[in-house]
Subunit: 310 residues, 2 copies
DNA sequence: CTGTTAGCGCTTTCAG
DNA sequence: CTGAAAGCGCTAACAG
């Protein structure tokens, strides 16, 4: 492990100068800086993060708080970008409420990270305050916006000539999102907004409800990938063809929808993870300590479950 | 941030004694240790890992190398256990070959972690050497063993009276696993071992192949969850009932099989992650620096895709 | 059993 | 622009 003074000796300067040069601090002649940088690289010098941190310098570590490792792609993207930038990733999984409460109660990050990345974690009042107390920048990657996803899905279906579109929402959501649909010129029938559990079974039950109505929609948008699958399975079992008789779009469930071939709205998670890191590190370097949230951009992936209205 | 000397002062002893007491080192009277521990807790003292590490003590950090964040459950379990034990998790995602090569080339872990946890990463010769060079214990959590999974699935089906069982394997695997089946008293027909891509489409094609044969098996075991889903979908479309006509067991694909209700072999990932951490930390405390691999234990989850042979 | 004395490898004044 | 010196908070010999 070559240390900073090793480099200093080899470059014929003092350790202080090496420190300044490598960090890009002002007050070092360009010639010296170039030389030091070159020598350091040649010697494969890597800074001792502990020492830097202890001495009050940068800590070269970012805390990543994930609500769940399901959002794995964003994590993978962020990790890659951080590693490349020479930062450690301190991972914290805030899955259940207990783990989350415990984390914010202990706040084990004091003086240990240069920034915080939030993955699908929306802090409440107190949590935000705890994070702010760290005095480091916080960037949070939010989940994809449902309204936006819905807009994308509806536009796709309308483009295919659909007018009769049912909307499947998870139980608990009390909005209807009618405005989003009517804004695109759709006539919304109340019986075509159905709530169900976000499961395959839930989706299957939705079909029963839909079949009871006087008219079957030509397309259904499901906010849950699993429910979308349920709709798909039950429709096929009932002898309806997808997409010939009914088109299906899911607003979520990348893996599942991809496996089965359902048209779906997806997020660019990996790239977004990388972007978020760039943003965060820029804030770190600027010495800021504010908080931003960056919504996940989404796009539609057309597969085999949507077609022109027959 | 209260420091060790703060605690020392409050407890009326020297910093060295606090250090010894808190780490459980021998050479401290029980009375002193109790008192110091009590004072430390009261003052909510948390050790400065940087300083400890720099001074040559413990680093309170474990590197977790994951081949992919898909194996998220094990990661979540491990993270929880480590956090509880007061250890940081330094996450490295070794997804693609490039990232992996880059990691082992740089080996950014020197003097920075107390141990390494490998998640579905099987190091080759050189990689193992690089890890050994760290001088810390390495525990690796392997994927579930296919042979074992197959045994579980076969036993379940045999218990239901099945004798005619087809086996769907991923392309590239050149084994037939006949012994595993024959060992359980099954007569294996060569046309009932089918290779396909681990996708829904692959599974659908398998059914075509199977239907061409002179006799349809009463059950199929698929090593891929997605292929199992393909088999399921195609059979239903062809008018066969599952499980009335054909039973299906998947050897993988927790999420997918759970969503659709397929009987499957699953691993106890979360618990195993916690176990692995216990194991690793025990080695850390014992000052060892060896390497072990712990295969993921598996069990069968019976759902709706298997039934008694008709 | 306990305290004292040195550093660990950096960053940061403070001088030159 | 550069160097010398002090110190971050711990652990590790040494003495008592």
């Amino acid at each position: 492990m070559t240390s900073m003074s090793d480099v200093a000796r080899a470059a014929g300067v003092s350790a202080a100068t090496v420190s300044r040069a490598l960090r890009g601090e002002p007050g070092v002649s360009e010639a010296t800086r170039r030389n030091v940088t070159e020598v350091a690289k040649r010697m494969r010098y890597a800074i001792a993060r502990d020492a830097s941190s202890l001495a009050g310098g940068r800590r070269y570590a970012i805390a990543v708080l994930a609500s769940d490792v399901g959002r794995g792609e964003v994590l993978a993207g962020a990790e890659g970008a951080l590693r490349q930038a020479g930062y450690d990733v301190l991972l914290y999984v805030l899955g259940d409420a207990a783990a989350r409460a415990g984390f914010f109660e202990e706040m084990p990050l004091g003086r240990r990270v240069d920034g915080v990345l939030l993955l699908s974690v929306t802090p409440d009042e107190g949590e935000a305050q705890a994070l702010a107390g760290l005095g480091v920048p916080v960037v949070s990657v939010a989940d994809g916006d449902l309204t936006e996803a819905l807009r994308l899905a509806a536009a796709h279906l309308i483009g295919l000539g659909h007018h009769d579109i049912a909307l499947v929402l998870p139980e608990g959501v009390d909005e209807t999102y009618d405005e989003v649909l009517t804004a695109q010129g759709l006539a919304v029938r109340p019986e075509w907004t159905v709530w169900c559990s976000p499961t395959v079974i839930g989706g299957e039950q939705v079909v029963d409800v839909l079949l009871d109505a006087e008219r079957l929609p030509t397309a259904v948008i499901s906010s849950s990938g699993e429910a979308a699958l349920g709709v798909f399975l039950r429709l096929r079992r009932d002898g309806r063809e997808v997409p010939a008789d009914v088109s299906i779009v899911s607003l979520e469930g990348k893996e599942l929808t991809r496996a089965v071939g359902l048209t779906a709205v997806e997020g660019a998670e990996r790239e977004h993870g990388e972007r978020a890191v760039e943003d965060l590190l820029a804030r770190v370097r600027a010495g800021r300590s504010d908080a931003v949230v960056r919504p996940l951009p989404q796009h539609l992936v057309v597969r085999d479950s949507t077609g022109a209205v027959g």
